[in-house]
């Protein structure tokens, strides 16, 4: 592992990523003004080794685009991304390649992320082949080690299998093994368990927890606040391309300050029927990220909005009622 181990592994500052909305021929001919999807509008956070940060939010909030921007799968329009001290925001793909090995992505759908024509051996060894690492024997050893680390023991039982012969949980473990084989420092997990059965989720989440304990930094994208509360060290809540609240996981869940977070937490169903809370259901749906409201982006749906909210775009700062300085929210009323 290169780079100094003391600073944060990943630093994101003021990240901005926009997509152009295709206008079509008619639009272009009529010179209609180009519209932009403001997927990520100024996101900043830090992630240390051995830490799990959960990026939480509803669809359209920009969490997936943030992850893709960090991994340079998508080019961002502004802001800075620093990985282990190196600024990778504008790095060319050739120079990026060696760093790419150290950040890996786990996809949401274990049924689609593995090539059905590859055996498990091929899937897990592929990253090594792509980066030209090791001899044939070394690759096999690494693959076996990775499968064991991912909980698929004995590895020999799985190496020659095709994905369709494995259950969802097993496939996800294969995907995790394939990302571990390069010994990454950062793992980005995009909804790693949302497509798996409930009885299987804990196994995968425990695996990620274990990897975190071994020093991996994990960025988990999820819409499931309950999972984030249980496994993440910190939670960052996103809304329309911005982080509206962030802090230690338990603090966010027990003492939410931003009105959006409070509403979100109140509508999460609890398994115990005796703990039914009166849900604070927001009306309507998240607005289109093409037309972000002026001022505070949440104010049209906010139960606590005041006239000033239309003019001020709040910064993240520690709310008055927060238990720790590390808890920050972007709201002028808290």
């Amino acid at each position: 592992m290169t780079g100094n181990g003391s600073g944060p592994l990943l630093e994101v500052e003021g990240l901005v990523t926009r997509y152009a909305v295709p206008r079509g021929i008619v639009g272009a001919l009529a010179s209609r003004p180009r519209e932009w999807v403001h997927a990520v509008e100024g996101v900043s956070f830090r992630l240390r080794r051995g830490e799990m940060l959960a990026l939480v939010g509803e669809s359209g909030c920009g969490k997936t685009t943030t992850a893709q921007s960090i991994l340079r799968l998508v080019d961002s329009d502004a802001g800075a991304i620093r990985f282990d001290g190196t600024d990778i925001t504008r790095l060319s793909h050739r120079n990026l390649r060696p760093l790419r090995r150290r950040m890996q992505l786990i996809y949401q759908d274990p049924y689609e992320s593995l090539d059905p024509r590859f055996r498990v051996r091929g899937i897990v060894e592929e990253p090594l082949l792509v980066h030209g690492i090791g001899s044939k024997e070394e690759r096999r050893e690494e693959a076996e080690r990775a499968l064991e680390l991912a909980g698929l023991t004995p590895p020999g039982l799985y190496l020659d299998r095709y994905p369709h012969e494995l259950s969802g949980g097993q496939r996800q473990r294969v995907a995790i093994a394939a990302s571990l084989v390069l010994h990454p420092d950062l793992l980005v997990a995009d909804e790693p368990v949302s497509m798996l059965d409930v009885s299987v989720r804990a196994g995968i989440l425990a695996l990620l927890d274990d990897l975190r304990a071994r020093g991996l930094a994990i960025l988990m994208i999820t819409h499931d606040l309950s999972t984030a509360a249980r496994y993440a060290d910190r939670i960052a809540v996103m809304y329309l391309g911005r982080i509206v609240e962030e802090g230690p996981a338990r603090e966010i869940v027990d003492n939410p300050q931003h009105p959006y977070t409070r509403a979100l937490l109140s509508v999460v169903p609890r398994p115990d029927p005796r703990e039914r809370v009166v849900p604070e259901i927001l009306r309507g749906e998240t607005p289109n990220p093409v037309h972000v409201p002026a001022g505070c982006r949440f104010h049209p749906r906010c139960p606590m909005a005041i006239p000033e909210c239309q003019d001020v775009d709040p910064e993240l700062r520690t709310p008055a009622a927060a238990s720790t300085e590390r808890h920050r929210a972007a709201c002028i009323r808290v």
Binding site: E126, G151, L196
Partner: protein, 319 residues
């Protein structure tokens, strides 16, 4: 090493794993459940075998004059004699070789060209796609007969030229179908994953994309064989074929130009025509069956009234 317990895996019996289904099994089961395709395949195979063995099983020489002009069929000459007194059956068997060679070779050319263009256009998209599709459009528009006339006039009438012409005219369908499938395969998560890993285009195309479109390519190529054989027949019939070679089209041309019809010598025209029809039909049946099961866009099962297939949004219930 304290790994997270692979708890859900401990009780998975090794016997529980299904036997990996080899690709060949898939194709065989398709053919088995589709009698049409099986008949087509059998007929095709028979014709190929017969054509291959032609020099050994033909009763007479293909230039050997054994009787009168347009002699009627008899016990010695099952299909009678042609305008030069040569045994028709022999000619048919030899003609089969040329027709099939041209058919297969031209289909191969169109598969290579169409497949490559479709693959590149579908995978890279953008400008590459636009340019390649423009080129394809121009080729679609080219009228085949006039082109053959021109090529025959300028470069001569050789077997190679015929194969090339047919291949160059008929690759366009292949290109469009393959492009469509490649575009959809390109969006699959495992392809994106390979790219995210840092795999180069070459690797992604050869290892991840091509294996997915290969079965469809095979199906379309089989259909191209039918088209190519038909095209060769037409070319030979118009007198643009290789004059030194016997093919079914040439036989029809001979009979036609020597007025076989006016002397009621049906045996000079009908057998080669029928042969072409049979082979083309056989290829079409096999090709269609393969295409139906391999081209996802043709799946119309969801329109059927009686069946309900529900897609499960997470899990293996309906898989």
């Amino acid at each position: 090493m304290t790994t997270a317990p692979a708890a859900e895996l401990l009780t998975r019996d090794p016997d529980d794993f299904e036997e990996p289904r080899r690709r060949r099994h898939v194709v065989w089961s398709v053919i088995r459940t589709q009698p049409q395709a099986t008949i087509g395949a059998v007929v095709l195979l028979a014709v190929v075998v017969v054509a291959a063995l032609a020099p050994y099983i033909a009763p007479y020489g293909e230039r050997e004059r054994v009787g009168d002009v347009f002699e009627a069929p008899s016990s010695e000459h099952w299909l009678g004699l042609d305008d030069a007194g040569i045994d028709m059956l022999t000619l048919m068997l030899h003609g089969a070789r040329v027709s099939l060679i041209v058919g297969f070779a031209a289909a191969l050319v169109s598969m290579l060209i169409g497949g490559a263009i479709g693959l590149l256009a579908g995978y890279f998209g953008g400008k590459t796609d636009i340019i390649l599709m423009r080129v394809t459009d121009y080729f679609i528009v080219i009228p085949d007969i006039p082109l053959m006339l021109v090529v025959a006039a300028i470069w001569g009438r050789s077997l190679t030229n015929i194969i090339l012409i047919i291949g160059l005219i008929y690759w366009t369908t292949t290109a469009r179908v393959i492009r469509a499938q490649v575009k959809s395969v390109r969006e699959r998560v495992y392809v994106k994953r390979a790219r995210a890993l840092g795999a180069g285009h070459g690797r992604v195309l050869s290892k991840h994309v091509l294996p997915q479109v290969a079965p469809l390519l095979v199906a379309i190529t089989v259909l191209s064989i039918a088209v190519a054989i038909f095209a060769e027949t037409a070319i030979a019939f118009l007198g643009l074929g290789d004059p030194t070679l016997i093919s079914w089209g040439k036989l029809i041309e001979n009979a036609f130009s020597r007025s076989a019809i006016s002397v009621d010598a049906w045996w000079a025209i009908v057998p080669p025509g029928l042969a072409v029809v049979v082979v083309v039909l056989a290829c079409t049946m096999v090709g269609r069956a393969l295409e139906d099961s391999l081209n996802p866009r043709l799946r119309v099962g969801h329109l059927s009234v009686r069946h309900f297939r529900l897609r499960n949004l997470g899990g293996e219930e309906a898989r």
